[in-house]
Symmetry: C2
Subunit: 329 residues, 2 copies
Amino acid sequence: MTGVPATIRDVARASGVHVSTVSRTFSAPHLVNPDTRSRVLSTAESLGYRPNRAARALITGRTHNIGLIVADIANPFFPPLIKAAESQARQRDYHLFVADTNEDPVMEEQLVQALAKQVDGVLLCSPRMSNDLIEKLRREVPLVVVNRAVDGLPAVVMDVANGARAAIEHLVGLGHRDLALLGGPRGSWTNREIRRSATAAAKAAGASLTVLGPHQPTEAAGAAACDAVRATGATAVLAYNDLMAIGLLQALHDRGVSVPAELSVVGIDDISLSRLIRPKLTTVSTPTAAAGRAAVDMLLQHDDERRTNALVTLQTELIVRESTGPNPH
Amino acid sequence: MTGVPATIRDVARASGVHVSTVSRTFSAPHLVNPDTRSRVLSTAESLGYRPNRAARALITGRTHNIGLIVADIANPFFPPLIKAAESQARQRDYHLFVADTNEDPVMEEQLVQALAKQVDGVLLCSPRMSNDLIEKLRREVPLVVVNRAVDGLPAVVMDVANGARAAIEHLVGLGHRDLALLGGPRGSWTNREIRRSATAAAKAAGASLTVLGPHQPTEAAGAAACDAVRATGATAVLAYNDLMAIGLLQALHDRGVSVPAELSVVGIDDISLSRLIRPKLTTVSTPTAAAGRAAVDMLLQHDDERRTNALVTLQTELIVRESTGPNPH
DNA sequence: CTTGGGACTGCAAAGGGTTGCAGCGACACT
DNA sequence: AGTGTCGCTGCAACCCTTTGCAGTCCCAAG
């Protein structure tokens, strides 16, 4: 009512107890007499008192905040992950800082540093920085990495290797023998996994695979790579993500190349967009919401446990839609 | 190096000055002798010292944090806004809490309350709560409202009224006389603006306008409303947002109704998706990134200024693409 | 009646900074 | 020499809460 927020002292005075009793009413209710407790609670209520988290953080060392760092909030891959992480965090009474690095590795480091003192841990999504740097940063703040496997660090990854293999096998099964891989950004663990797995799968199936890239993981980059893709002579292409695949689709459409009649296209991620465009995109779905939840859970479990299950791998699934078809040749 | 983070006291001891001098080195550099300053800075550097923001917040009362509350992070309308706000905030050395209400008005209130003590202000995006409640909450924490005009409260709105009018005039200009409005969620100021303006514009042009709704602002709701839209007999539809328009487009496609030959569809927002689908969506573009930046700016300017320019209105623009065409009758 | 223990509660230090105030030396001016 | 000012630095209180420790009261057991 007064405009200035009530502190624990106001409540103590108003209810005739010591501040420590008020404190305990909130943080260890079982230690205070039920009568006292309800009295304190009701005066706190009437004063509009809320514990000051900064002060609490100062003494307990726990902020009840989590940092979430992503490469690009506007990349449709991330919002479902952010949403799930935020929801999971809040359910456990944590708040979420969200920060955007603009795909810039040095920004990643700065952000972790800046957030370090203010959070109980940081979720690093699809980091582009080096493993060495991650090793260094983990000493400043608990880290959970998403979309990257780092030795000894808790991590949540998608089984994109399996997904890429399934995609290649799908294409080979449709008679394609000349394949292209539209590579993603430098520094991306996922990109390396996809390349490794796709290359192996193509080799095992006796097909050729031309690797293009690195590229930014954007629709524009996908469109820009259109001519390079066609120059490879491939009849089917696997893209690093749906966004690039969709950009490629647009560019192909502009050039009058029909999909999948002349060229088959597969994406990865299954962002919501992918089933809205024409042709509907064949893609490898990755459980992004589950990844967000899992990452929060890993961060919030106690350190000893955290070490034991240091790597969570989430399954992916090939979703065949309309952008893939038989080899025209 | 030690694992435990260095405090201001460590730096003071190591550089042979008092803590207050170290404090000033960081928060009021001009007050300390350049020699002293550089000495402090270098020992701070070598100790890996970073000011503890919680401690600072405790004494200064300013957290250097901002809360951003949106209805649905995964709704493509919001990510560009979030991204812009985050970037603008960080540029001014603020961090951003992001929270998601799931379109739930009571969650909105809880979130503002929970964040209140932890931030210097809250950006309330597209709030669904009542004006009374907003009035109440503004007494607990500085508020800036986006996509809603509230008396005396700093707000950033898009001129959707003008956009809706332009859309209706565009449709009338194409010969349509029987129009429908696919309404958005209850409690949305934007929805009321659109309805008001569209109704007035239709009336002025001598066209009929059937208003449908309220609906959730989702693709699914847009699709679900397909039959209701057709039942109105309208030859052109304006949707509350692109997501609903796109859902409608999908449903129309499934039913074999061709757009724009049989029915014209207009969206609002111009999310990135809208130019990727077929037919490309005619829509009213809203400057979401600019809104995010403006909201942060408003929050961060001093109170006296904040009062003077309490309402920022951002212009919208009709973007004619492929989903609108002449009246078939 | 003593002793022990349990249930509460109060005391005071601690956490890491900021900031008003005062002290101090150097210098300029009268 | 005395006075005033300026630039810099130290002192110590303060921000709000948590928590180890100790004290009080009461009751049950011996």
